[in-house]
Symmetry: C2
C-alpha cells in the first residue's frame, strides 16, 4: 500500500465547499488503496486577516505571540477538514504542531524543524484514521508555539513525507504546476512537466510562488519525490525530482520576478577587515536572510556597502543597521523598497557564459538599468527598478526562446 | 503582593479596542502592585462563527474535532491580548490548554479538569511576564484538545485561582454583577451586592448567564472569593462568597428563566425495577445532563417517563432514547423544545413552604400552566410553555417583593 502525503494550500481550502471537494478526493484516494496523510494551510485569507489584526495593534508584534496567533488558522482548517472527512464516512483526526510534536528551534516566525517523531502518526493511520496535520507550525523545546515562515505548510508536508518515508509528497495548489514564468506577467509562459530539485530551488527562492524553498531543500536532502498539481484540475502536473532524471531541452528553465526585495546601503564606512561581518552578523542573529551584497571599490580607506533583504524584514533590519552605523561611524544609511529581482534559472548557466550576456542585452534593449547582479550554479539575477519588473520578465523570457505559440503547449 | 486571576469574557474582548482597554486596566493593576494572571474567552462572536462553520458541514460534527476548532478562538484572543500588553510596555506570554497543561478527562465538548500544574505559570510571573491563558480549553491524557463546555473560561479562571491559591478571582463581563432577574426581561430587577456560593450556583445553573455553574462549584469547593464586575463600568460589583458571610434580607434572592430546555417522553413503558436506569444510563454515558424526571403513576404494569435535558443535547439524546425505546418496547418517544424553566432561588426555600405556594399562585394568576415541578435546598423550579417565560419571570419577581422602585437601587 503506497503512503502519500497530500498538502493543500490556502486556495485549495478557501471555503467549506473547497474543503468538501478536497475531502472527497482524499476519500477516493483511500478507496484506491492509498494510505494518506493530509497537511493543510489556513483557509484562504485567514492568515492575512490575523496578520491584519496584530498589525492594527502594533507594527512590531511580539514574535512569540504572532506565532501563537497565526497558528490558529491552520489548526481551525485541520479541524474543519477532519470534521468534513468524518461527515462523508471517513475516520480522521487533526493534529497541531504541539500535538505531533513537530519540534523546532526557537526562531519565532521562521523556525527550523529539529525533530519529528512518527509514532503517533503511524498509530493514527494504522488504526484506520486519516491524520490531518495543521501545517506551518511547530513547538520549540521550551514549549512555545513556533511557525516555519509563510508557506511553511509545504515544509511540514515534505518533512512528514521524509520522516515517514512516504512514496511521494503531493503539493496541491491553485495552479497545475510550475511554469517558465508567472503566466499573469508573461502570457506566453510554458508549463513544465519535470524539473530538478536545484532548478526548483532557485525558482522557489526567487519568487515563483508555487513551492516554498525550504520544502524543496528538504525534499532534495531526503530524496522525496514532489508533485505539484492543481486541487481542482487534474490534467497536468509538475514532477520535482533528481537532476540526473531530468531530460533537458532548454538551458533556461524559467524566469522569475521577486518583489519582496529591499535594499539597505551604508555610505562611507571604513574599509577594513571584519567590517562586513560586523555589519551583517546582527542580521544573521535576527535570522534575516541577506541576499545580494555589493561592496564598492575603496577610496581613501572608505567604501560603501549595499545588500538586499526581504521587504518583510526591512523595518527590523533598518533598526539593527542604524545601530551598527553609529558604532562604525558610517556617514549615512539608505533604505529602499522600490526594487525587484529578475532571475533566469537553469542547469548549466555557469558553464554557458553567453546566458548572462543575452539577459543583459534583453534588458538593455528595453532601456532597463541594472542596479545589482549576482550569479550561482543555476541562475543569474539582476536587481532593477520595480516599475520595469513585468516588462523585464517578458523580454528575458522571449529572448531565451521560452515563449510558446499556442495556449496549452508544455515545455518538453 | 496580592495575586489576582482576572477573567475577561467575549464581550470584554469583543474588538481590538476592547482588548486595548482591558490591557490598560491590567497594566494599572500591575502598577498598583498586583500580581496578575489573565484568562480570556474568544473575541465576541468568534465562537459562534466557528460553530456556524462546522454546522454548515454537518449537524453532528466529530466532538474531538469540534473542540480543536473552537479552542482556536481563545488561543487567538490570548495571543492578541499578549501582543497588546507588550505594545504598551508590559511583558506577557500567552498559553493554551495544552501548553499549561490543563489536563482534563476525554469527554469532548464538556471535559472536566483533572490536573493543573502551576510551575510554568509561577516561573512566568516570577520572571516578570503576565501570563495570558486561553480559557475554555484543556488537553486529555491522550493528547487531544478538549473544551470545558460553553462559558468554560470561568472554570479555567477559578481553577487557576484555586491552584495558585490566588487572593481572588475577578470575572469581568458586560454587566456590573448579578441581578435578581434578567433586567432585559424584568426591568424592575435589583442589583445584588453579595450572594452565597449555593445561591449563585442555582442562579448560574438556571440560566442566569453571568457565571458558568462549574466555575461557581469549583470556587465553593476551594473557597475562592469571586467578584463579578463590568469591564468598562467599575462602580458596582457582586461578591460571591461563603453562605455564612451573607447577610440575608430576602428569602428569595432571584428569579431565573432557563431557555435551553427540552423534554423527552417515553410513552407506555414496562413499569419494572431498573427501567429508569436502563433508559437514563446511556445519556449519562454520553455526558448529557438529565435535569427533571417525572414518572407517571403505573397503570396495568405500564407507565410514562418524561425528563428534561439541555436543548443542545436534544438530537443526540433523541437518537439514544429511540434505541432504548426499541429495546424496551416503548409505545412512542415524544420530544419537545418549546418549553422553559422558571426558578426562584434563595437560602431557606425548603424550610419556608409558603414560597412554593406563592410561586404557584403568581403563575396561576397569569393563567400559566405548570408542566413539571422540582425543588432543592435553594430553589423551586417550574417548567412552563416557552411563550409565557418572560411574563412568568415578571409575575414571580413581583410576587416575592423583589421589584425596585427607582433606577439604581441595590438589594441589600
Amino acid at each position: 500500500m503506497s503512503l502519500i502525503v497530500k498538502k493543500y494550500g490556502g486556495t485549495s481550502v478557501a471555503s467549506l465547499d473547497h474543503i468538501r471537494r478536497v475531502a472527497c478526493s482524499v476519500a477516493s484516494a483511500r478507496d484506491n488503496g492509498e494510505q494518506v496523510i493530509i497537511v493543510v494551510s489556513a483557509m484562504g485569507g485567514e492568515t492575512d486577516r490575523l496578520l491584519q489584526l496584530s498589525a492594527e495593534i502594533t507594527p512590531i508584534p511580539s514574535e512569540r505571540e504572532q506565532d501563537a496567533l497565526l497558528s490558529t488558522g491552520e489548526q481551525a482548517c485541520a479541524a474543519l477538514m477532519a470534521i468534513t472527512l468524518e461527515s462523508i464516512g471517513q475516520r480522521a483526526k487533526s493534529f497541531t504542531g504541539i500535538q505531533l510534536p513537530l519540534v523546532t528551534d526557537n526562531k519565532h516566525t521562521k523556525a527550523r524543524i529539529l525533530e519529528l517523531p512518527t509514532d503517533l502518526l503511524r498509530k493514527t493511520f494504522e488504526t484506520g484514521f486519516i491524520p490531518v496535520i495543521a501545517g506551518f507550525q511547530g513547538v520549540s523545546e521550551d514549549g512555545s508555539i513556533t511557525t516555519l515562515g509563510r508557506g511553511g505548510s509545504d515544509t511540514t508536508a515534505v518533512a512528514l513525507a521524509a520522516a515517514l518515508k512516504a512514496d511521494c509528497c503531493e503539493i496541491y495548489t491553485d495552479v497545475d504546476g510550475v511554469y517558465t514564468a508567472d503566466p499573469n506577467v508573461c502570457p506566453r509562459a510554458r508549463h513544465i512537466n519535470i524539473i530538478s530539485y536545484p532548478e526548483m530551488l532557485e525558482l522557489a527562492g526567487l519568487g515563483a510562488k508555487v513551492m516554498h524553498v525550504r520544502a524543496v531543500e528538504l525534499a532534495q536532502k531526503y530524496q522525496v519525490p514532489l508533485v505539484v498539481k492543481s486541487s481542482f484540475n487534474g490534467e497536468r502536473q509538475t514532477w520535482i525530482i533528481n537532476e540526473e532524471d531530468v531530460m533537458e531541452n532548454y538551458i533556461i528553465k524559467g524566469v522569475t520576478l521577486e518583489k519582496n526585495v529591499s535594499k539597505i546601503s551604508l555610505i562611507r564606512i571604513p574599509d577594513r577587515p571584519g567590517i562586513a561581518y560586523k555589519i551583517l552578523s546582527p542580521l544573521a542573529d535576527a535570522a534575516i536572510n541577506v541576499d545580494m551584497i555589493i561592496q564598492n571599490v575603496s577610496i581613501d580607506g572608505y567604501t560603501d556597502l549595499t545588500f538586499t533583504i526581504p521587504t518583510t524584514d526591512l523595518n527590523k533590519a533598518t533598526d539593527l543597521i542604524n545601530q551598527v552605523a553609529r558604532e562604525i561611524d558610517a556617514l549615512e544609511v539608505q533604505a529602499a523598497n522600490n526594487i525587484v529581482k529578475i532571475s533566469a534559472v537553469g542547469i548549466g548557466i555557469k558553464t554557458n557564459p553567453g546566458v548572462a550576456a543575452q539577459m543583459f542585452k534583453a534588458l538593455a534593449a528595453e532601456n532597463i538599468n541594472i542596479e545589482m547582479i549576482s550569479t550561482s550554479e543555476y541562475r543569474i539575477s539582476c536587481v532593477i527598478e520595480e516599475k520595469y519588473g513585468e516588462l523585464a520578465v517578458r523580454a528575458v523570457h522571449h529572448s531565451f526562446g521560452l515563449d510558446h505559440n499556442k495556449e496549452t503547449s508544455d515545455q518538453e
